[in-house]
């Protein structure tokens, strides 16, 4: 099959048709990404009779839904910050603190696995360990006399969910920050020492500023990651925790909101929040790419 790329059609005609090669991709994206999203968008503007309305968006401020957003945002923010800070420290520990290479390889591999362990298995593991009858809970109660549930801890709550989410938030931070830390050129450290700076000054004036877009961007990624999570929360609490994703799931299983349009508005609200997060992430990535090149 002989094909000529240096074809005879005029250049302008060739340019305007070349995008057709992307058609399958665009069709797929349309059918399974854009259309579902658009459908939700459209649905959110309709009430139960199908007429156009803004009421659904106003109804988002009902207490139950407001609480759902608030809880989701809280969990996401907390796990983003905690996961971000400790994940960064962990990434720093394995890249810069002079530990043996096998520690780094082992940890990075483990992080890859841990971040994919999320969902049902992760929830079960935490229930086994920190649930009311969990191994650690029992051990603390029987051997140390400390009943964490008496003290107010509850795995099936905000604290418990956050603790569980961290299991895949830490690894995500480590996996992204380790290469970023590697991107800190050795010469920068040497040049700064050469010019008279201490280690602390190096970190404060050079390394952290350079890494900051990456750190912030990844924390935003972590936020989005937690905000959109469903399986882990569902497997952990069976739907009793009031999160946005859980509410959407409940709506899908039965019309609990008594108004499908409201459910769509809920989902749309979620997409908007994730969209803003993604926008910030992309912007911060651009800056960091420029500096770490």
């Amino acid at each position: 099959m002989a094909v000529s790329t240096a074809g005879s059609p005029s250049v302008s005609r060739r340019l305007s048709l070349a995008w057709l090669g992307l058609l399958p991709f665009f069709l797929f994206a349309f059918a399974f990404l854009i259309a579902p999203a658009a459908s939700l968008l459209i649905g959110s503007f309709r009430d139960s009779q199908g007429a156009l309305t803004f009421q659904n968006f106003l109804d988002l401020s009902t207490p139950s839904i407001r609480n759902a957003y608030w809880l989701s945002i809280r969990v996401s923010a907390v796990t983003a910050v905690v996961g971000g800070v400790f994940g960064f420290l962990l990434a720093y520990a394995v890249t810069q603190a002079g530990l043996p290479v096998w520690v780094r390889t082992g940890l990075i591999t483990f992080c890859g696995v841990a971040s994919n362990f999320a969902g049902v298995p992760l929830a079960f593991a935490f229930i086994r360990v920190l649930g009311r009858a969990g191994v650690i809970s029992q051990m603390l109660k029987n051997d140390a006399g400390v009943d964490i549930y008496q003290l107010g801890f509850n795995l099936y709550s905000f604290e418990g969910l956050s603790l569980t989410y961290l299991y895949f938030q830490f690894p995500l931070m480590v996996l992204i920050m380790a290469p970023a830390l590697d991107g800190l050129k050795r010469e920068w450290r040497e040049a700064s020492a050469n010019l008279g700076a201490t280690s602390l000054q190096y970190w404060r004036l050079i390394a952290l500023p350079i890494l900051m877009p990456s750190i912030l961007g990844t924390m935003i990624l972590l936020f989005g990651n937690a905000f959109g999570a469903y399986a882990t929360a569902f497997a952990l609490t069976g739907g009793s925790l009031n999160l946005v994703t859980i509410q959407i799931g409940a709506q899908m299983r039965g019309d609990v909101l008594h108004n499908p349009g409201l459910g769509y508005a809920l989902a749309l609200g979620m997409v908007v929040i994730m969209g803003v997060a993604l926008g910030l992430y992309i912007w911060l990535q651009r800056i960091s790419e420029r500096w770490l090149r």
């Binding site: 040497e190 004036l205 050079i206």
Partner: protein, 352 residues
Amino acid sequence: MGFLDLINIRKTFGAADAVAEFNLEVERGEFVSFLGPSGCGKTTTLRMIAGFEPPTAGQIRINGVDVTSKSPNQRNVGMVFQSYALFPNMTVAGNVGFGMKVTRRPKEEIAARVKEMLALIRMPELDNRYPYQLSGGQQQRVALARALAIRPQVLLLDEPLSALDAKIRVELRGEIRRIQRELGITTIYVTHDQEEALSLSDRIVVMSAGHIEQIGGPFEIYNFPKTAFVASFVGTLNQLRCQVVDPAGGKLSLEGQTLLSNSPVSAAAGQPVLAMLRPEELHFGAANGENRLDGEVLSVVFLGAVVRVQVGIGSSVLTLDALNERRLTLPKVGDRQTVSFPPHAVWVMPAS
């Protein structure tokens, strides 16, 4: 004792010596190059002066003070890296002023010094640019200004021009020398490019496999190399395998043809030796009082300013560089050709 002394420096990595028996005294204001192939230890030695590698043995003294155990940020030496290493999150002004900022100099002093340095490297209007907005040559000049801003005792440059285009390299080379002369700063320059070393330095340290082969001025290194390595590393070299005929008279035989060197030879008669000759000291045709060899033209390459001809003499090959002249008729491959050179152009080394 010089301004910068390296005394018996040795650096061992694992079982191997990267640098050994390194002794050097550098005078104040001198420009010294470390020249050698990759892996010869020149960069390692430079990094020891900067304090990034501790020597396994030996001492480093700057202006009489023993700095061997001092950390890099206490030595007040300025370093310019091959990859520029400008801090990407700071402007040019921020980079140049960094050394003074971390030693908490007053703001006005920093601003004045930055201005002075930018004028020195002839880039005064670029103070607000970021490194990613600059070309390679510009970045390296800023790196130079940054290293000089702290008024270092010694300036160290680690192959600063290798990452740049040929044309920029030549331009910047001149700039570096001009600035160095203007400031009178003691400078160590590491390079594998002999043209750089020859054109810039007051003295050159030729290194190989962690050892110093020879220390001397450019002319001396080029024309009076002490070892076969130096002779062949710097410039192009003819090495002719000859037999000694008369040691006292400096008479040698190359495949039946005689040639004279102008000093006695230390080997016995009948011994094989290497006669060393620079291609530019040879010329076509016979001349009075000069050595003469006859052979056949093997190749002729016209390089522009220089014509490089290879002449086969028996089984040896002689390379001859002639300066271009418009009236020149180039010899043809296969022609018989006579080549001559004065006796003082030859020096003799033992055949290893």
